[in-house]
């Protein structure tokens, strides 16, 4: 008798347990649905309306490529500010700044990563922490601090040499290098952490001096990380608006700065089209970067 009631209690407990588990599972299923909805819905709307027949965002009236066509053909409704030439120029500026900043940041970032992973020197912990600073501090803070820094520095140079330097590509590139170094260093370091340091010793043991050991063993092994870091840097550089806005001079507008200029007037479907193109480009680069990192870890 006692045994039976014991059994009954257990059964109801099991049933209750099963219910909570089902509820929990439903919640877990809903979580990503909402997350992805809020993440992707605005972007999907932007992409959608870049193909919208109507100029208004009130309703989707039909599919068209004419806004894409417009941005390549100097037409932008009634707006005078737009010309394909200015846009292409801004795009060229973006590519130029991105390429130069990426090359410099990749070399410096890789060197820092190597020093951090292999070196032993005083203050290493501090430098290590400071390396993450550009990743965590608000972009606007960094932008303003860079703008002030350049102003002060150029004032001093003007006082000393009598020559006035104006902001331009060099300031944008320097600014981009500063934040990109961190990203490159972090990505390359992750790769180095996966690499067996004994491989470098093995190379030296077999007669390779440090220079050859680096180029024949270390570098090929961290190359996926370096490329991945470079792609990330290039993408961040292409996408950056805030820092570029505060450090650019006359005639050095990059594509995001140009788009912002258009927005000051009104959000036109052409802006949607340009934004869509930029997004596709960035996603592609980040995708390749991630794929390189994935390859990295599957190798180790």
């Amino acid at each position: 008798m006692a045994a039976t009631s014991q059994l009954l209690i257990n059964e109801s407990a099991i049933r209750r347990n099963r219910m909570t588990r089902r509820l929990g599972q439903a919640g877990l299923l809903l979580n990503p649905v909402f997350t992805y909805f809020f993440l992707w819905a605005p972007i999907l709307i932007l992409v959608l309306f870049s193909f919208n027949e109507s100029r208004s965002v009130a309703s989707f009236t039909g599919f068209t490529l004419k806004w894409y066509n417009n941005i390549l053909n100097n037409v932008m409704g009634a707006e005078r500010a737009f010309s394909t030439e200015i846009m292409l120029n801004a795009f060229r500026n973006s590519l130029f700044v991105g390429t130069v900043a990426t090359v410099i940041a990749t070399v410096l970032g890789t060197m820092i990563a190597l020093a951090m992973a292999r070196g032993r020197f005083p203050g290493k912990g501090l430098i290590d922490g400071l390396l993450f600073l550009p990743v965590v501090i608000p972009e606007i803070t960094q932008a303003i601090s860079l703008a002030i820094f350049f102003k002060v520095a150029f004032d001093w140079i003007a006082v000393i040499s009598g020559e006035r330097i104006f902001p331009g590509f060099h300031t944008i590139i320097m600014a981009h290098v500063t934040f990109n170094i961190s990203y490159v260093a972090i990505v390359v370091r992750a790769r180095l952490a996966d690499m067996d340091p004994q491989l470098e010793e093995a190379a030296k043991d077999l007669g390779a001096n440090p220079w050859r050991a680096f180029w024949r063993v270390t570098f090929p092994l961290i190359l996926p990380g370096v490329i991945s870091g470079a792609l990330l840097a290039f993408t961040l550089s292409l996408d950056d608006f805030v820092i570029t806005f505060f450090t650019s001079g006359v005639g050095t507008s990059t594509l995001p700065v140009f788009v912002y200029g258009l927005l000051k007037l009104t959000v036109t479907p052409e802006v949607n089209a340009i934004s869509t193109i930029m997004m596709v480009l960035s996603t592609l680069l980040i995708g390749i970067s991630l794929a390189m990192q994935g390859r990295t870890s599957s190798r180790a």
């Binding site: 491989l199 030296k204 077999l206």
Partner: protein, 372 residues
């Protein structure tokens, strides 16, 4: 003056943390010798190897390779090569490229390097895998590639850091035999780091037993096993019974008289390293050197009482372990003694009952008197 392949003179290695990993180590390794550095983990054996390879610099003392002082000579200019514990094969290169790497660094032309790489793969009995990547090989095969990569350079000395540590038992036994044969064939000096005492005993010409940065004893496997000079060595190598006693007299013949806890006085061989001439000592006796006889039997066997130690004992446990039976006996009040008897016939393993009073005996030279 004889030159050795490797000579360490009063080597001290102190790390930044203050840890003294190697403490005043001096040793000479002769040409063509298979020399084992044996000790528990953290005893400084790997650090000693790394000092020879040039990956670490000694805090004091000198490393000489073929009579040349190695101070200031970087790893990549030393005539030694290393087989790393985890092989450290370059994952982005093929097996052949791995083996050719060292030759390429020497400036050997590609054609010759290729031929030598193939030759050395042949030598480690792994022909035809040159095109593969290391990760496509099994652990044992990778081990052979690591060997081939080091041997292709024809080093004066090959340094091996627990090379069989990652292999399973059966493969390890095979590789022990093969490595030894290979070493005999190529005639290269091997310095072999291991924590496996059996591996060291079966393979090495000479063994150095290390503990806490010090080299406690250097000698042939036989000397190390039969004539340990300290409690640590006796305990680390094989199984040993330790019996506390008091040394009464050091005889001129290398034997001494020792009084056991229960007052019995026995004769035992003095260790060469024994420093004291009286006072507390420890007797070390190998379990397989002790014989057991039931009281009834002793009458039948003639034992010379001047050559043998004979004691009464009580059987408290027996364990059948296949080849042997392992008996635990008690002598005196509280001293336990482990005895191993080979199971020559099926009857041997079941001969004595638990709790039975028996006699144990050993030849006086089988018991070694050690400092505590």
């Amino acid at each position: 003056m004889a030159t050795y392949d490797v000579e360490l003179v009063d080597i001290v290695k102190e790390f930044d943390s203050g840890l003294r990993a190697v403490d005043k180590v001096s040793v000479q390794v002769a040409d063509g010798e298979f020399f084992a550095l044996l000790g528990p983990s953290g005893c400084g054996k790997t650090t000693t190897l790394r000092l020879i390879a040039g990956f670490e610099q000694p805090s004091a003392g000198r490393v000489l390779i073929r009579g040349i002082a190695m101070e200031g000579i970087p790893a990549y200019h030393r005539p030694v090569n290393t087989v790393f514990q985890d092989y450290a094969l370059f994952p982005h290169l093929t097996v052949e490229q791995n083996i050719m790497f060292g030759l390429e660094m020497e400036g050997v032309n590609k054609k010759e390097a290729r031929a030598r790489a193939a030759e050395s793969l042949e030598m480690v009995r792994l022909p035809g895998v040159g095109e593969r990547k290391p990760r496509q090989l099994s652990g044992g095969q990778q081990q052979r590639v690591a060997l081939a990569r080091a041997l292709v350079k024809k080093p004066a000395v090959l340094l091996l850091d627990e090379p069989l540590g990652a292999l399973d038992l059966k493969l390890r036994k095979n590789m022990q035999y093969e490595l030894k044969a290979l070493q005999r064939d190529v005639g290269i000096t091997f310095i072999y780091v291991t924590h496996d005492q059996e591996e060291a005993i079966t393979m090495a010409d000479r063994i150095a037993v290390m503990n806490e940065g010090k080299m406690l004893q250097i000698g042939s496997p036989r000397q190390i096993y039969e004539r340990p000079e300290s409690v640590f060595v006796a305990d680390f190598i094989g199984e040993t019974n330790f019996i506390a006693g008091e040394l009464l007299e050091r005889g001129p013949d290398g034997f001494g008289r020792v009084k056991l806890a229960d007052g019995t006085v026995i004769r035992a061989q003095l260790s060469e390293a024994l420093s004291r001439s009286s006072g507390q000592v420890r007797l070390a006796i190998r379990p397989e050197r002790i014989g057991i006889a039931t009281i009834a039997e002793t009458g039948g066997e003639e034992i010379d009482p001047s050559e043998y130690t004979v004691l009464d004992a009580l059987l408290i446990d027996s364990q059948y372990i296949g080849t042997d039976t392992r008996y635990t006996l008690q002598i005196g009040e509280a001293t336990e003694l482990v005895v191993r008897v080979q199971n020559i016939s099926e009857l041997d393993s079941s001969g004595i009952a638990l709790g039975q009073a028996v006699t144990v005996y050993w030849h006086n030279s089988s018991a070694t008197v050690l400092d505590i």
